[in-house]
């Protein structure tokens, strides 16, 4: 199809091969084992589930047949893994990254370099032992994130650097040698602070409490272990996610700055690495759980178009000063304290609509961002830069009409909405018009979408 632009340029004979034979690179030779692993694991799971049947079979027809069957399956899986590794190739052209996979159903993904939002490198524990890494590309408009698993460590870093360099418009000849852009560390989250912050978070404790109370109750009520287990297992997962699991993934959270954007490295067992180009940030959320507030701690989350890393976390926990400094790197026009000071609480009559939680709802506007506040116990400020606004909506339900209230919704490109609920109706109508104007004006003055421009403070 688009082979004319290829440097190799030979006309395709049968099927138009997007990656001409002899070109493109293969993944790390370890990869087939990863592919073969899944069927074998599936087989083991099936065998475990039907353990008694397997035992009968083994006693009846003899162990030999069973082992032979397993051996054939393992060999088949390995052969499949090997063959699918052989056909998997990737190629970087001037405009695209092409990945070809699939043994029976061939699939070629063309990722447009200028649409790549972020490239993450991830190293699971086992992969770290073998010195390989996974490269994950976030592209706007493609449903799932495309990934290259696995690549040699150094190769992954080089490829990531090359892709980012090409995406940012460095001359194609220079791109392969551009190498990893230099980075300097801005902040590292202290392990003790992280531990404390997780301990002060309600979610882990809440799940623990629920597990301690509900499971015995169910056990007593049904006098059977299985319903209790059915409740306990998801609760255990929640406890894990809220405590130790979160600690392990967020351990050593490092934010550094490079010309490509902010780099996030984290994880104790599995090391993850993500790059967030500041120009792609659609919204920033400042989250302040109840017990963090006396200490002035907060969490900073980002909404980036495309699938974000670790649910778009920029900082799992930070002091106000750190957050202000880091936020300045992403949204240079935003002064966090002034911005949050702009937020005013919903009018008093809103208590007839939402009695106690009304105090949590608030709204404010600065020259740079639209701010919406929600939450009484866990306070969340959502900041949307005017230039990133996709559409503005005003909604008013029947009860809100009676009270003369309305809600303003500001939609941004990362499929999120900042909602200023329960504002005065007349004010909200003016505000929607004003917001449309502000967005229009700041879109005109907004800098273009190239993020590899040197930072003024760099």
């Amino acid at each position: 199809m688009s082979d004319e632009r290829e440097r190799g340029g030979e006309p395709a004979t049968e099927i138009p091969t997007e990656i001409p034979t002899g070109q493109g690179k293969r993944l790390h030779p370890l990869t087939p084992w990863r592919r073969a692993w899944a069927p074998v694991a599936g087989l083991c799971a099936v065998a475990l589930q039907n353990a008694s049947e397997v035992r009968d079979q083994a006693q009846g027809d003899g162990l030999g047949w069973l082992l032979l069957g397993v051996a054939v399956l393992v060999l088949g899986a390995t052969a499949y893994g090997y063959l699918s590794w052989r056909v998997t190739r990737y190629l970087v052209t001037d405009t695209e990254l092409r990945i070809r996979t699939g043994l029976l159903f061939r699939r070629t993904a063309h990722l447009r370099l200028d649409r790549i939002q972020a490239i993450d490198i991830s190293r699971p524990l086992l992969a770290r032992a073998f010195g390989v890494a996974k490269l994950k590309m976030d592209v706007v408009g493609s449903g799932s994130a495309d990934e290259l698993a696995f690549l040699d460590d150094g190769e992954a870093a080089d490829l990531r650097a090359e892709l980012l360099a090409r995406a940012a418009g460095i001359a194609p000849e220079a791109a392969p040698g551009a190498g990893e852009a230099p980075a300097h560390q801005l902040h590292q989250v202290d392990a003790r602070m992280l531990g404390w912050s997780l301990a002060l978070l309600g979610s882990g404790w809440g799940a623990l409490l629920a597990a301690a109370v509900i499971t015995p109750l169910i056990w007593l009520a049904t006098s059977s272990v299985f319903p209790a287990l059915a409740v306990l297992v998801p609760l255990l997962a929640a406890i894990w996610r809220g405590s130790l699991g979160a600690f392990l993934t967020q351990y050593g959270w490092t934010v550094s700055e490079s010309p490509d954007g902010l780099r996030l490295d984290h994880g104790l067992l599995q090391r993850d690495h993500a790059t967030v180009p500041p120009g792609r940030v659609q919204a920033v959320r400042i989250v302040e759980p109840l017990l963090w507030r006396p200490r002035g701690w907060l969490r900073v989350e980002l909404d980036v178009a495309g699938e974000g890393n670790e649910r778009g976390l920029l900082l799992p926990v930070a002091t106000r000063a750190t957050a202000i400094e880091l936020l300045g790197r992403i949204l240079p026009d935003v002064r966090l304290d002034e911005t949050l000071a702009q937020v005013t609480t919903a009018p008093r009559r809103a208590r007839w609509a939402v009695p106690v939680w009304r105090v949590g709802y608030g709204h404010g506007v600065t020259d740079a961002v639209f701010v919406a506040r929600a939450g009484r116990l866990r306070r969340v400020h959502t900041l949307v830069p005017h230039a990133k606004v996709q559409s503005v909506r005003l909604t008013q339900g029947p009860w809100e009409q009676r009270l003369g209230l309305a809600s303003i919704h500001v939609d941004q490109g990362a499929n999120g909405t900042a909602t200023a609920r329960l504002q005065d109706a007349a004010y909200a109508a003016d505000e929607v018009a004003a917001q449309a104007d502000r967005s229009r004006l700041s879109r005109r003055t907004a800098t273009p979408d190239r993020w590899l421009t040197p930072h003024p403070n760099h």
Partner: protein, 169 residues
């Protein structure tokens, strides 16, 4: 630049009343027809069955569907009258709803895709539906009842303006 930049809300009628456009009356006919098709037979059945079976008092069961039909007839009219849209220099405004009011402002520069669809029933009534998509899935910008010619004109104009004002994500 933009003469109607202020007050596009439900209260902004004075400024731009002449430029707000309603949607086609065909939408109302279509929706009322659908309502009648659903609830009408139900009402008739609820009246006829008990009478034929010799328990005429049970025919009172027909009251809720009948009331529903009447209320729906009236509510659809009210809802239809509430729909209107306005093309401004830089954005499209869609205002709708009576009980649940909603005003949507979509800047032309943000449009990723403009879609005109028309189902078989809609075609019978000479209607087309125009839908705008932006990068935000929450953007709910649909105009259900346009004359096909108007829908095409609007689509072409929006596409043209969208290209001229396009901005990145």
């Amino acid at each position: 630049m933009d003469t109607v930049a202020h007050g596009p809300g439900p209260d902004g009628r004075s400024d731009a009343a002449d430029r707000w456009r309603p949607i086609e009356p065909g939408v109302l006919s279509l929706r009322r027809l659908l309502l009648a098709c659903w609830l009408g037979p139900l009402t008739v059945a609820a009246v006829l069955l008990p009478t034929l079976l010799g328990a005429p008092l049970w025919a009172l069961l027909a009251v809720p569907p009948l009331a529903g039909t009447c209320w729906g007839w009236w509510a659809l009219g009210r809802n239809w009258r509430s729909w209107r849209y306005l093309e401004r220099d830089d954005d499209l405004l869609i205002d709708r709803g009576v009980l649940w009011r909603q005003l949507t402002v979509v800047p032309y520069g943000r449009m990723q895709l403009v879609e005109v669809t028309s189902g078989p029933l809609e075609r019978k009534f000479g209607l087309a539906r125009l839908q705008l998509h932006t990068a935000a899935a929450a953007t709910d910008a649909t105009i259900p009842g346009l004359a096909p010619a108007e829908a095409e004109r609007l689509r072409d104009r929006l596409t043209e303006l969208g290209e001229a004002r396009s901005a990145g994500l």
